[in-house]
């Protein structure tokens, strides 16, 4: 069990109250409706987002295609089931790669991003799907601006609840390529930036570990905190003059300042840990992705954060026959509208998605190889792999490819293939990402009865995936 540190009252605390947390909490209370409780367990969260969807037979409307016509009508994700997850019954993307972890994983079928499905102009669309995927929030779009949310992604709530116990509030990495916006949002809906440069990530995470906490370092920490206090005080003052729209923008900006300040503060208290030896000079897309995964594993072993996110950009690899440096078109191509090359495109698509999924199983292997108490870091953590689309060709937010591994310290069931089918003539099942993330938040000890807006079919935890 982890306890929060107590700190003496200071001007800094006053400022946090005036311009810091006070800026963020109203948005949480308004749309997510629940206060945050103290954590009673210390699991880590790893969220891997694979941009650009995969291949499934379920279209944007929910229709299950039969293999004819313009949709690829293939299932690369689902395991045979439902029931016990077996290595010999995994979907093509997982086959072989997930075998060592079937007892600790859960594959989902039939979960929809209902915030996008019910409200978006095209029942999804790139940007709308991305901003709502992890937030389950109402999306706002003004004029020609891109869609935005004003609420956090589920991982942010866990980050807020755990920020006092980690050197880094979150660690966000990205294997960079084309995509339509990060799905990881702060409490005001601003995008959390991800680091894609392995060297910078390594230096930021481990650079301080070789420094001794001498007087000069402590003085530098105090100086940086003083500067950030001054900046936040400036925000508080200017905010009083702002109208509603400008105030919201200032609040999002100030939240980033708060985030920097907390990092400065935490770094001074980081626990001792040896900087890992990682070859940072790998070449090739997947190899570079593996380096970032290894950095994430090393940071987890040093307990530098409790919340890790990892975005896999949408690049067409491997298979160099495709003549565009980005990958989403591959999903469209895999619909085989031109005839004659269907199997070729599908093979490339499968190979591509398996290569990306291998980054996730590399993470699982690293966590599994890290002993924690009587088990492993994978046992005490929860890793989530998902994408904003299922059928990439149709930009479908129905039947999303979602997989979890680990049990968050024994609170979530594992080793299953959970399927949610449409009932009573409905086009989609009643299971939404709202419900899944509610389950995850409760598993992390947050007192949240329902996450996200009310666009879903039912409130509360995902049936069949209730935390114990």
């Amino acid at each position: 069990m982890t306890t929060r540190k107590t700190k003496p009252f200071s001007r800094r605390h006053f400022l946090y109250g005036a311009g810091g947390a006070a800026l963020a909490l109203p948005a949480l209370e308004l749309t997510h409706g629940e206060g945050l409780a103290q954590l009673e367990t210390d699991p880590m969260l790893f969220v891997v987002h694979n941009h650009g969807g995969t291949v499934s037979a379920r279209t944007a409307r929910g229709t299950l295609h039969d293999g004819s016509g313009g949709h690829h009508a293939e299932n690369f994700w689902w395991a045979d089931g439902p029931g016990t997850l077996r290595a010999d019954a995994l979907g093509p993307i997982h086959r072989g790669l997930l075998d060592p972890f079937v007892a600790k994983a859960t594959v989902f079928k039939g979960i929809t991003n209902q915030a996008a499905y019910r409200n978006a102009p095209h029942r999804g669309g790139h940007r709308w799907s991305n901003v709502s995927h992890n937030t389950c929030a109402q999306v706002h779009q003004s004029g020609e601006d891109n869609p935005r949310v004003r609420d956090p992604s589920f991982d942010e709530l866990i980050a807020i609840a755990t920020e006092d116990v980690s050197a880094f509030r979150t660690i966000d990495l990205e294997l960079q390529s084309q995509h339509y916006g990060s799905p990881f949002k702060t409490s005001s809906g601003a995008t959390r930036s991800s680091e894609s440069d392995a060297r910078r990530a390594f230096d930021n995470l481990f650079g301080h570990l070789d420094d001794s906490a001498d007087d000069a370092l402590l003085a530098e920490g105090r100086r940086r905190q003083r500067v950030l206090d001054g900046v936040r005080e400036s925000f508080a003052r200017l905010r009083q003059r702002a109208g509603v729209a400008d105030r919201a923008i200032l609040d999002a900006h100030a939240e980033h300042i708060n985030s920097i300040e907390r990092s400065v503060e935490r770094l001074a208290n980081a626990s001792a840990c040896s900087a890992p030896e990682i070859n940072l000079s790998a070449e090739g897309y997947i190899a570079r992705g593996e380096v970032l995964v290894d950095i994430m594993i090393a940071a987890a072993r040093c307990r530098l954060s409790r919340v890790f996110t990892y975005q896999i950009g949408d690049l067409m690899l491997p298979g160099g026959s495709f003549d565009q440096p980005r990958g989403h078109s591959l999903g469209h191509r895999a619909r085989d509208t031109t005839g004659g090359r269907r199997s070729e495109w599908l093979n490339i698509m499968e190979e591509n998605r398996r290569a990306r999924f291998s980054l996730f199983t590399r993470l699982l292997a690293g966590l599994e190889a890290t002993p924690v108490g009587d088990g492993t870091l994978l046992d005490s953590s929860l890793a989530v792999y998902s994408s904003e689309f299922s059928n990439a060709a149709a930009h479908s937010v129905v039947d999303l490819p979602i997989l979890t591994a680990g049990s968050a310290g024994g609170t979530l069931p594992t080793g299953q293939s959970l399927a949610y089918e449409p009932e009573g003539g409905d086009e989609i099942s009643n299971a939404s990402t709202h419900n899944l993330y509610t389950s995850l938040l409760q598993a992390f000890g947050l007192d949240v009865e329902h996450f996200g807006d009310d666009s879903c079919s039912y409130r509360g935890v995902l049936r069949g995936y209730e935390p114990s």
Partner: protein, 539 residues
């Protein structure tokens, strides 16, 4: 029809286009409303009452910020500043973190000439005035001085303590946003103060912050009337900074800086075997040509006709070779391009390179640009199931040219909702390859060479080729109206909203009458929409 409903119709038409069935993608509900974005510009004669849009504080972008830093310090900075060059409507976490790093970097490298306490407050006051583009109020100054004193009490030297204050100023919101307060008037609007207006003008016309002369003009009351603003703005346009700003405007309007699905000009992918001459220096020459033509058209010729129809080109040897003309004496300078091949900015290599694939020019991308960005004809989002892969005709011996390939790809009835307009506009550019070289015939996808048919149409009018289209656009009311919107967006740092209509109407009337882009810009920055804002309703 309001903007929301119009876009809804466009979206509905686009839905299901290109190889999908309409029933498959029929949405449950209309798209979320677009809030207050103006669609129809009123007739200028109907603009009898003052009007303005609600306040929206402009944030400094990376270009503005570099200017601001030099102004605060009182000298140019040698060091490169790593900033978020692509910031959106709000500062990203990365952008804020980079600003924090940059502020520390600048403060650490700045030689602060103030060893004792006596000059501290004066130094802080000077920096704050430059940073905020106004004098700090007493509370602001007291806070900054207090932080300096805290640092001194913590054992820092006077210079180090001042460095901390400088760090604060370099990332304070008063520095990073052009915040306005203003004074209400009888018409229910709020007038920006002269000093606030100076900041807004500097962002609009210089892509930066006001210099001491501009602030002095504001404090001297020279910006208190529309005529005064216009006079000052005319003077500002004489400055070299204005030329840089306008070339930047044209560059961004053309989308040459890249986008979500398009690389910047500098890195647009091209096949190395097909285009071995596509060097970084050739790309730089393409960029330079656009910048030079923009300045010439807007500030020197002061003519939208020159922008769309001029054959003058600023080239070096590489670019001259691409255009098939002799290089100017000295290797770089102005030349005149062949009359039958080039006319205006849309027939230049930079635009044609960016709106192309790595093998071929792209009729679809070029057509979309002409309709959406040069004529402001909204097409809506592409449908979810659009096939945007490069056209590949392997196995189809009937398709032997790009035109037929595009037709084949977009022949579905639902595709035609948009492609009936896009394709004929894009076909006009068929005689330019993937890096903008002129070609009378093409060898498409391994087929025998064929003469290219560059005929097409835009808004129902037929044209022989892109040269003829450009001549029409130079005179077209639609292109002028669209250019006014783009100028507004650039100068105001936002889209036009309700309340901005009369400013657009007035600028459009000017441009329609004279074709003078400079005058249209002056009309915008001296309008009520620029100088006032509408307060939020009381709650």
């Amino acid at each position: 029809m309001g903007v929301s409903s119009r876009l809804w119709v466009v979206s509905s038409l686009a839905l299901g286009a290109c190889n999908g069935s309409i029933s498959e993608v029929t949405p449950l509900a209309p798209p979320a409303p677009t809030i207050g974005v103006i669609e129809d510009v009123p007739a200028v004669e109907s603009c009898t009452e003052p009007d303005a849009a609600p306040s929206s504080w402009r944030q400094l972008n990376a270009v503005h910020y570099r200017h601001a830093v030099a102004t605060i310090l009182g000298h140019e900075l040698d060091a490169e500043l790593t900033l978020d060059e692509k910031q959106g409507t709000v500062f990203s976490e990365r952008g804020v973190t980079l600003l924090n790093d940059v502020a520390r970097q600048i403060a650490a490298g700045e030689a602060i000439d103030c060893a004792d306490e006596g000059c501290a407050e004066e130094t802080i006051g000077t920096w704050a005035t430059r940073a905020f583009r106004r004098a700090p109020d007493a509370d602001e100054l007291a806070t900054l001085v207090g932080i300096h004193d805290e640092a001194r009490a913590d054992g820092e030297s006077n210079e180090a303590a001042l460095g901390g204050v400088l760090e604060i100023l370099l990332q304070a919101p008063q520095t990073l946003y052009a915040a306005v307060r203003g004074e209400p008037n009888d018409a229910g609007l709020v007038r920006l103060s002269d000093v606030e207006l100076a900041s807004k003008l500097a962002l609009a016309l210089w892509d930066g912050v006001p210099d001491p002369d501009l602030l002095a003009a504001a404090e001297g009351g020279e910006l208190s009337t529309a005529d005064g603003v216009r006079r000052v703005a005319e003077g500002m346009l004489e400055e070299p900074r204005a030329a840089v700003n306008l070339s930047h405007f044209i560059f961004e309007w053309l989308g040459l800086g890249g986008g979500a699905v398009r690389e910047p000009l500098e890195s647009a992918a091209k096949d190395a075997e097909l285009f071995p001459d596509m060097t970084p220096s050739l790309r730089a020459a393409m960029r330079r040509e656009v910048e030079m033509l923009a300045v010439k058209a807007v500030l020197e010729d002061q003519s939208i006709e020159a922008l769309f129809n001029s054959r003058d080109a600023f080239v070096n040897e590489e670019l001259a070779a691409l255009y098939g003309v002799d290089a100017p004496a000295g290797g770089e300078g102005w030349i005149v391009l062949p009359e039958s091949e080039r006319a205006g900015i849309l027939t230049r290599a930079a635009f044609l390179t960016n709106y192309a694939g790595h093998l071929y020019g792209s009729a679809i991308r070029r057509g979309v640009f002409v309709l959406e960005h040069a004529l402001c004809e909204p097409l809506g989002e592409p449908p979810p199931n659009v096939d945007d892969t490069p056209i590949n005709t392997a196995g189809d011996s009937h398709i032997t040219n790009q035109r037929d390939a595009v037709v084949s790809r977009t022949q579905g009835t639902q595709c035609q909702a948009c492609h009936a307009s896009i394709n004929p506009a894009g076909f006009l550019f068929g005689q330019y390859d993937a890096i903008g070289a002129y070609q009378a015939e093409e060898s498409f996808d391994g087929a025998a060479p064929e003469l290219i048919d560059p005929s097409g149409s835009v808004l129902g009018q037929s044209f022989r080729d892109a040269v003829e289209l450009s001549a029409w656009m130079a005179e077209s009311s639609e292109a002028r109206s669209c250019m006014v919107r783009e100028l507004f967006k650039w100068s105001a740092g936002r889209h036009a909203h309700e309340g901005d209509g009369c400013a657009l109407a007035s600028a459009h009337a000017t441009l329609a009458e004279t074709g003078n882009l400079r005058d249209a810009l002056l009309e915008l920055v001296s309008s009520e929409s620029f100088r006032f804002y509408r307060p939020e309703p009381a709650r």
